[in-house]
């Protein structure tokens, strides 16, 4: 199927398999920040934005993204650096495999809610698993980033 994708502002036109998932498409095109942690949309490491919505790309069919803007961490390097400064100041990125998906979720949260409470942060990010950090350091970082009292 012919698909047009707009990835981080760059236009692509190519033939996609009907059963192809966005995660595979993006990695094939060189967007290696998008990781595969599972294939059941349960871990959040493949999180990206499609048409402004945070979605797990491992279970989002490529054809569904036809003509829609897609954003990966490669497309928000400045914002990611800002989020990253707080995260790395705590040392909480650890192995870093879940970091790009985590950053995408934080970016999406900040667009939707400029002054979230800690509880709102936790709920929004509940789908982003991290096996290294125990999350506490992430919350310390995000509280500073979003100026949660």
């Amino acid at each position: 199927m012919e698909v047009k994708l707009i990835i981080n502002g760059t236009h692509y036109k190519f033939a996609a398999d009907p059963d192809e998932y966005l995660l595979d498409t993006l990695r094939k095109l060189g967007y290696k920040s998008v990781k595969r942690g599972c294939d059941t949309s349960s871990c959040g490491v493949c999180s990206i934005l499609v048409d402004g919505d945070l979605v797990p790309s491992c279970s989002f069919l490529t054809v569904r993204a036809h003509n829609k803007p897609i954003i990966t961490v490669e497309g928000i390097q400045l914002e990611a650096r800002k989020i990253g400064e707080m995260i790395t100041a705590e040392g909480v990125e650890q192995c870093g495999f879940c970091s790009p998906g985590h950053v995408m979720a934080v970016y999406a949260l900040m667009r939707e809610n400029t002054h979230p409470s800690l509880n709102e942060i936790k709920h929004y990010l509940a789908g982003n698993l991290c096996r290294c950090s125990g999350y506490e350091g992430q919350h310390r970082a995000l509280k500073k980033l979003m100026e949660v009292k």
């Binding site: 990695r27 290696k32 920040s33 998008v34 990781k35 595969r36 942690g37 599972c38 294939d39 059941t40 349960s42 871990c43 490491v45 990966t72 961490v73 490669e74 390097q77 990611a80 650096r81 989020i83 990253g84 400064e85 995260i87 790395t88 100041a89 705590e90 040392g91 909480v92 990125e93 650890q94 192995c95 870093g96 495999f97 879940c98 970091s99 790009p100 950053v103 936790k122 709920h123 990010l125 509940a126 789908g127 982003n128 698993l129 991290c130 096996r131 290294c132 950090s133 125990g134 999350y135 506490e136 350091g137 992430q138 919350h139």
Partner: protein, 762 residues
Amino acid sequence: MSVNKGIPKVDGMGLVLGKPAFTDDLAPRDALIVKVMRSPHAHANITKIDTHIAEGLPEIKCILTYENVGDVNFSRAGQGFPEPSPYDHRILNKTVRYIGEPVAVVAGHSEKAVDLAISKIIVTYDVLEPVIDFESAIDNSIVIHENDGTSSMFEIGHKPKRNIAAGYEMEIGDVQKTLESCDVVYEGRYYTQAQAHAMTEPHSCVSYLDQQDRLTLITSTQTPFHVRRIVGKTLNLPLSKIRVIKPRIGGGYGGKQAIHGEFFVSLVTIKTGLPAKLIFSRKEVFTASYTRHAMRVDVKIGSDKEGHIKVIDMDILSNTGAYGEHALTVLMVAGSKTLPLYNKVDAVGFRGDVVYTNLTPAGAYRGYGAIQGNFALESGIDELATLLNMDPIELRRMNMMKEHETSEIFEIMGEGQEGTAMTIESCKLAECLEECLEKIDYYKKLEQVHEDPNKVTGVGLAIAMQGSGIPYIDMGSAILKLNDDGFFNLLVGATDIGTGSDTILAQMAAETLNVPVDKIIVYSSDTDLTPFDTGAYASSTTYVSGHSVRIAAENMIKKIETAAKVYFESEDVCFNGMDITSGESSISLKDFSTKLFYSENQEQLVSSGSYVGTKSPPPYMVGAVEVEIDVRTGHLDILNYVAVVDCGTTINPNLARIQVEGALLQGIGMTLYEEVNYTELGANRNNSFFKYNVPTRMEVKAMDVTFVDSYEPSGPFGAKSVGEIGIDTPPAALSNAIKNALGKRMTKLPIRSEDIWRKLNS
């Protein structure tokens, strides 16, 4: 000063920004896709594999079965040499011993072609009865390893005919007599379950032949040098023909100590000449990598009526699943890293068998037996206190290890062999205990009554110890290279798997050289480019590899001063990190190093250091947890977890803290939620993140991790290890908290809400 500073991880921002850094990110675009056809039976002999239809399909380049991969027996454990794990495995086995065991390996140009080919392989099995219940494995009529060349490199108690992978026994003093002479004896039986590592990056490996026709492996491993050795030995390749590159690793926790897909991609590349990659699916990670050893721990603790503990006896049955990776050593650590906590005893007994079953193999997992042993021992201490009608905290105060003391166990029990005698030069357990009690407000919380009549609160505590590397076995080394412009390359075999070891090793080099950390460019774990290191396991990197970096840096200072003597034509030179001074003259390191390359007395300055520990100083910690339980449902909430840790100097306090916090949540996950669950036929019931409950960020309300002042004289800059210690306390601390809340002792992990409810309603 660079040490004891919470600087950001050197690779942190790059990872956050999504730079391609992991195995799959670095795979050649044209790599063959390698996938594994897996056994649907827990126990079966393969009588026939027909691959000819699959081989004839388009895009298929290579199919491996047990018939074309050789029949060398080895252990995938990824340990030093000689390995203390039995050689009970072949690259592909003719007898399959768990559901998910590889039967055939297919490589082709696309995933779809490979999937189709796998569906066309016809395997005929002679299905055998499996052994699923580990308590009935010994002397079962079904023998799991029979006539398959299984052997061990030295005596490990390996008795395959009895389904025993390894066994061990030791006794100090007379356990039976001492038990009989005690006023009070507690006896308890505890069960711990198989836990999945669930690292977010699945096991991944890539192989290709380089321009010199050498096999190059990029692999998600904790042990690149062991991978080179084991792959070389098993495939009969000279090690000079293999290069193993460790890129960034997406978590390991022990699960990536062992060899997973490395043989398969290597063979595909050797047979086809083409690059190949194998990335496990999440289902494969759950069903066909490793788990923690499930254990049954029988503990007896005897004391006089004043609470002086006289004897501890521990008897363990451990389940290693289909293969015996880490069987003996995990068993031994269950005793050797718990029993010395109470060192004022007259007698100690420890024995156990590790049995084969037809389940996913067990392997190394953070804590490595200590968490299992700790659950039984530290629950038992609270129970003994109840029998003595005594405060369990006071019982611990009286009996626990103190600084400058020792335990005979250190000398008797090592990992797979005899241990090493040592006196404990840093042990701040007492300080950890008092601080922990105060922070959680233990005695107040003990008395607290919940305002909601349907809820109760409780508080519980446990103490723990771990080690810092394996003495006389774990070896680390480092090379420092001075560059023009005055910066250094630090090349280490130490394997950063996300822990931040690259960063703390750079800090140690900078500290010794008295240069800023950004003058140290660290590169880790590439068997062609970096010196040897046993790998990221056994809590060894900070202590063992750290020393090697310190030594390399000290040697570099000597080299700089020697070169400076020639330059100044004087014996009186001094390097302070920034400048080299001789009398009134001085030159900056920046200028001096540039001269060394381009204009005067040209010489490349390179130094090295290597280190093997002669002891394994334990880090200690005290963990206390406050819980709230809804008695109507058994639902348990963790309100606060306080951990006070003695790991010596924290080289990087931020990273040390995250190590403990992360380990705590893994321990909490094991205690309350996680269990690799099998059907009666041995099929994994929860092989996805949907069904296997890794803790999310909602599970703990608060976590409070602090470090006490401590300095280990034998450690680099006073440091001990911190990677594993954090995982050990949650099982016992939570079980003790539940006991204090409900008056019921939970003795089997995981302790789920429904288990609490059943206990309340039984």
